[in-house]
Amino acid sequence: MFSLLRSMWLTFLHAFHKRETIQYPEEKAPLSTRWRGRIVLTRDPDMGERCVGCYLCAAACPVDCISLQATQDETGRRYPEFFRINFSRCIFCGFCEEACPTYAIQLIPDFEMGEYNRQNLVYEKKDLLINGQGKYPGYNYYRVAGMAIGGKDKGEAENEREPIDIKSLIP
């Protein structure tokens, strides 16, 4: 009986506490920079697409909401022909970001993507691609990778030795 009265009193005292509610449209909850919201595709510093179409994100996706098709341009550089994320399936787990070897796909702290029409939640490459580097500025995959593309041969990447001439005996 006493505990009941005590709990009533304590509940009553809550009338003088500060309210916890965040009045959403006017004030926004502070989100950390690593908060997993909307998914974007980023570009490297010289504005080429980072995505190399390796399908790792699509493979890592638990709900299979990513679909893409890789192609190559005339210099041998790979890029996705189309890149489609169905956000009505997406669970914002961030596995695609973890799987991505080139920092191309990133989740940013923006969650306001409500739509009246389900079809509008299917984002194509034009919706996903941003003109920026996202969370990893200065990283350029083709400048550090040992792959030959137009304008860059093997051995010309950063921190890369010349390839060994396997035909000669001289080290």
Binding site: L10, T11, H14, A15, E20
Partner: protein, 319 residues
């Protein structure tokens, strides 16, 4: 039966209007108060302080599809929600809101109220039975047992007041409290009546018939639209009725210092008790069904009888 003079019709209409509007406004008030005690804001977007939520809720209830399940017992199913509203509204008939502002100045006012609140049990039983749904039936059975058990000492708890004032007429009971409010000599009776009243309106600590976490929604699982709305409004009107009665019987009704009109005193006291009801809802866990019945029959009933006997003895000695 007196002739229907214009002033009398005004009283009847005024009481009806006030009660229905208070019941609707309680939807908003309860949500705001619960929010206050849970450190939230509650509805505060629609209109000033979210007051339009009442209007919007009402419109929604009116325009929702009023679906009667094909397996339900139709006439009884339709009748059940009406019984709640009618029985509670009839309960308001006897309450003196201010000197002269009473719909029916019955000499057996309290008995009439007890009879009407007993009628409320029918609506739960019939509603649960006509739904032809196991959960609804479970809720109805629980509700029936709870309401009938708590009815017993609800009536007995009031008898102390009747002994002290020597009348069943609520106006005379209020007049008899000019010297001292009955909450002081009849404190045990007041507490028991409050508990029984909460159980009678199947309000949250004792919301055994509804128990949304155990039985889907208890006896009104199958109801929708305005029929559900009637159960809903009936519950809020029941809260108002019990609060009005507590004020009338134990807190001197419209008596109070003269700087405010009597009606305002009554409304203020009633508002305090409605807030108490909501505070109970905010802070109490729901008892188990068998605990509820044991508590009623093994603790409250003996207490009530003891209170009644002691009161009667004191009244006799003072004579």
């Amino acid at each position: 039966m007196e002739t229907a003079s214009p002033s009398y019709l005004l009283i009847v209409g005024g009481v009806l209007f006030a009660v229905l509007n208070v019941a609707a406004g309680l939807i908003w008030m309860e949500r705001r108060m619960l929010a206050l005690w849970q450190d939230r804001y509650g509805p505060n977007r629609a209109g000033p302080f979210g007051l339009f939520i009442v209007l919007v809720d009402t419109i929604k209830l009116f325009f929702k599809e009023d679906w009667i399940p094909p397996f339900a017992d139709k006439p009884v199913f339709v009748l059940a929600p009406a019984i709640v509203v009618v029985s509670v509204l009839m309960g308001f008939v006897i309450i003196p809101f201010a000197p002269g502002v009473v719909v029916a100045d019955l000499n057996i006012g309290l008995l009439f109220f007890l009879a009407m609140s007993s009628m409320g049990a029918y609506s739960i039983i019939l509603g649960g039975w006509a739904s032809d749904n196991k959960y609804a039936l479970l809720g109805a059975m629980r509700g029936a047992a709870q309401m009938i058990s708590y009815e017993v000492f609800m009536g007995l708890a009031l008898m102390g007041v009747v002994l002290l004032s020597g009348s069943f007429n609520l106006r005379e009971i209020v007049e008899a409290q000019r010297g001292m409010w009955y909450v002081i000599p009849q404190f045990v009776g007041f507490v028991i009546f409050l508990i029984a009243g909460v159980a009678e309106t199947h309000r949250l600590p004792f919301d055994i018939p509804e128990a949304e976490s155990e039985l889907i929604a208890g006896f009104h699982s199958e109801y929708s639209g305005m029929k559900f709305g009637m159960f809903f409004i009936g519950e809020y009107m029941g809260i108002t009725l019990i609060s009005c009665l507590v004020v009338t019987l134990y807190f001197g009704g419209w008596l109070g210092p003269a700087f405010l009109p009597p009606m305002v005193w009554f409304v203020l006291k009633t508002f305090v008790f409605i807030s108490l009801f909501i505070l109970l809802r905010a802070s109490m866990p729901r008892p188990r069904y068998d605990q509820l019945m044991e508590y009623g029959w093994k603790i409250l009933l003996p207490l009530t009888l003891l209170n009644l006997m002691v009161t009667a003895a004191i009244v006799l000695i003072n004579k």
